[in-house]
């Protein structure tokens, strides 16, 4: 047993962070909320060039042939920088579905080449049982991907309706004309769901990690009553609780990232469900506490903290919120109890 990133993964983490720091400066992220998708498009191009978009696509189909852990390393870093790109939606959830649930091979290669694909969900952002109505983390012109009634991933041209971006302008939803789907019952479909949960948990962990770093920086600098606010025990304890949330969300997420590829399906699901159900609320707590530490500035549009919190909410809701993974965990426990 070894629970640690490999040297290659640490390198991947560092280079992704360098790229992200360049692409997603705080001010760039703030303007991305209203730039009509310009940063999103530029950044996606760059991430495609770096082979990060095709991380889960096999090398012989034009991808990087990486592991889910590799993809989670990237997703976490992107979360830290509140990156307005559909990495979880496209590079993790959709790529897995196309690859593991027998989707068209040319779409997979196309995805690795930077073409926009969005996973199709129901109105509660859960994985649909019979009908999808939302393209999640939608990009203009994106194809939609969902499991068909035959249990195979199918690609759909989308008849688009309203854009819903008032919760998280960095990750728009698009209503689409209903697409009939199959339920995620096969082992392949269940593994895809587990991978989507895990990738989302990684992004949520990164969002939280960024909030923690920012809070600690700010608390070390901002002075009130003649001393840095970070020297007050009340602020210290807020930050410590954030740290516990971040590190423990990270632990379960990376554990799940290994399990979804290597463990039997029941164990894979148990860990992925735990990661999703834990990282969502943990990330919300951390982003909220981060705003509390920042004080007034944190609730304005002059700071990106609200965008971070918005992204945390959207991703907490995605792929069945906490309800779906918690129900899975509870039912498994009851079966084995």
């Amino acid at each position: 047993m070894r629970f640690a990133l490999s040297e290659d993964q640490v390198f991947l983490q560092q280079t992704t962070a360098e790229v992200a720091a360049h692409l997603f400066a705080d001010s760039a992220v703030r303007s991305a909320a209203s730039d009509g998708g310009a940063l999103r498009a530029d950044a996606w191009k760059k991430l495609t060039e770096l082979d990060l978009v095709g991380m889960l696509v096999p090398e012989d189909q034009g991808g990087a042939g990486g592991s889910v852990t590799d993809a989670c390393v990237v997703a976490e870093v992107l979360g830290r920088f509140i990156a307005p790109v559909p990495y979880v939606a496209t590079a993790i959830a959709t790529a897995s579905l196309l690859r593991l649930a027998g989707g068209p091979a040319e779409s997979l290669a196309d995805l690795a080449g930077g073409t926009a694909y969005a996973p199709l969900l129901d109105a509660r952002l859960d994985i649909p049982v019979a009908e999808a109505t939302i393209a999640f983390d939608w990009t203009r012109g994106a194809w939609g991907v969902a499991l068909g009634a035959d249990g195979r991933a199918a690609v759909h041209a989308l008849a688009e309706d309203a854009v819903v971006d008032d919760i998280d302008p960095l990750h728009p939803l698009r209503r689409v004309r209903p697409v009939p789907t199959g339920a995620p019952d096969s082992e392949a479909a269940r593994r895809c769901r587990a991978i989507a949960w895990t990738g989302t948990a990684a992004f949520l962990t990164g969002l939280a990690d960024g909030a923690l770093r920012q809070a600690v920086d700010y608390a070390g600098q901002r002075e009130q009553y003649g001393q840095p606010i970070g020297s007050f025990q009340a602020v210290q304890h807020l930050c410590s609780d954030m740290l516990v949330d971040v590190e423990t969300a990270r632990s379960v997420t990376y554990g799940a990232s290994w399990a979804v590829e290597h463990a039997p399906i029941d164990e894979a699901e148990r860990l992925a469900a735990s990661a999703k159900a834990y990282a969502g609320p943990a990330s919300l707590r951390v982003c909220e506490t981060g705003i509390q530490v920042l004080g007034g500035i944190g609730v304005t549009q002059e700071h990106e903290a609200h965008l971070r919190l918005r992204s945390a909410h959207l991703h907490d809701s995605a792929f069945g919120g906490t309800d779906a993974p918690l129900a899975l965990l509870a039912r498994r426990a009851i079966e084995n109890g």
Binding site: A4, G220, F232, A263, Y278, D323, L326, L329, I334
Partner: protein, 378 residues
């Protein structure tokens, strides 16, 4: 990342699993500590004879020369097999190993690891809880004997122990933690009184130790004088890792039991029930993964640092979530199951207090991991 056993680990697990299948006691664990103690002790000695205790200690002191990884596998398998509660002794052998003389290691470690001599930890005092460095128990060298006077509290299994690893102040002029030394104190020495502390749930796991001019040989000093603080911090950080203390296995057992009671109720679980039970289950997976990660970091990087406060706070959080889930789901308050669960819940309240309160753990994280500025107190 590779959460699978290596071939060696898999072999170890296989052997252990089949040993446990053959050797687990057939009688259930008694409810009261006075009956449970001999039961636990008998099984622990049997395990030692089987070669399953002190796995990561060197063979020359009675260990198995294996690693932390095997210790973790042991914890998992004990939980899986619903084995009796282990008496946590391993962390008390560590300072003997690292600071003991050859003679001390030879004399004390083998019987400690064999559970032939039971050890306890004499750190906390009535006026030195969170603020351990404020301890007042004094040790004065008088010829070739140390004379100890003072009082210790919160000593786990103190009423059953033969030896105490005890901290006392040897240099009253040195500031706080600099004047402290560690001693090996035989509890049968004249001047020692041990009094059990009854916990809210009726458990008598803890004790007070009163020392009244207790004379022990000069060679019972562990390490150099004033090494005490470093020794204590070492023990405390080992204690904070959840894997060592076998909590994970216990929590797993509780969750299985709770889920079984929900099933046995025959009621179709509603959404609120699924959420509550699911959160408890997720908490355990988080704890398990975090423990694996900490373990892996320790295997690669040596002894655990200030980050172990994360493990401690997580363990408390997971325990308290699990206990609340039990109280909520077992809503027929007149059943014995509910009553037992309530006792566990009460015991769980201590989780955020002993071994450094939740407030102290947060101080440690803020100052030593996050490097936030110290307050005016510093």
């Amino acid at each position: 990342m590779d959460l699978r056993d290596s071939p060696d680990e898999a072999r170890f697990r296989g052997r252990l699993r089949s040993w446990l299948a053959d050797n687990l006691p057939s009688e259930p664990e008694p409810a009261t500590l006075s009956e449970r103690w001999p039961y636990m002790l008998a099984f622990q000695r049997k395990m030692y004879r089987g070669g399953w205790i002190a796995l990561s200690y060197p063979e020359e002191v009675g260990g198995q020369g294996l690693g932390l990884m095997e210790e973790a596998i042991l914890g998992e398998e004990l939980g899986r097999a619903n084995a009796p509660t282990m008496i946590p002794l391993g962390h008390l052998g560590r300072p003997l190993l690292s600071h003991g003389t050859a003679e001390q290691r030879r004399r004390y470690l083998p019987p400690l690891l064999a559970s032939e001599e039971i050890w306890c930890q004499g750190f906390s005092e009535p006026q030195a809880g969170s603020d351990l460095a404020a301890l007042r128990t004094r040790a004065v060298l008088d010829g070739d004997e140390w004379v100890l006077s003072g009082q210790k509290v919160w000593t786990s299994y103190g009423a059953f122990a033969d030896y105490c690893l005890l901290l006392a102040r040897t240099d009253p002029k040195a500031v706080r933690h600099r004047g402290i030394s560690a001693f090996v104190v035989p509890l049968r020495t004249a001047g020692i009184t041990v009094r059990p502390i009854v916990l809210a749930n009726g458990d008598e796991e803890f004790a007070e130790i009163h020392l009244d001019d207790v004379r022990i040989p000069a060679e019972n000093l562990l390490g150099k004088p004033t090494d005490g603080w470093r020794i204590a911090m070492d023990v405390v950080s080992y204690e904070r890792g959840a894997v060592d203390v076998g909590y994970l296995a216990k929590f797993d057992r509780y969750l299985t039991e709770l889920a079984g009671l929900v099933r046995a109720s025959g009621r179709e679980p509603d959404r609120s029930t699924l959420q509550t039970l699911g959160e408890a289950a997720a908490g355990l997976e988080v704890l398990r993964m975090h423990c694996l990660r900490s373990l892996s970091e320790r295997v690669e990087g040596g002894s655990p640092g200030a980050e172990s406060s994360i493990d401690k706070l997580l363990m408390t959080r997971v325990e308290q979530t699990l206990m609340s889930a039990g109280l909520e789901l077992l809503d027929d308050v007149t059943t014995p199951d509910r009553s037992e669960w309530f006792d566990r819940y009460l015991y769980g309240r201590a989780g955020s207090i002993y071994g450094g309160s939740a407030q102290i753990q947060r101080n440690i994280l803020a100052q030593r991991v996050l490097a936030l500025p110290r307050g005016p107190r510093a």
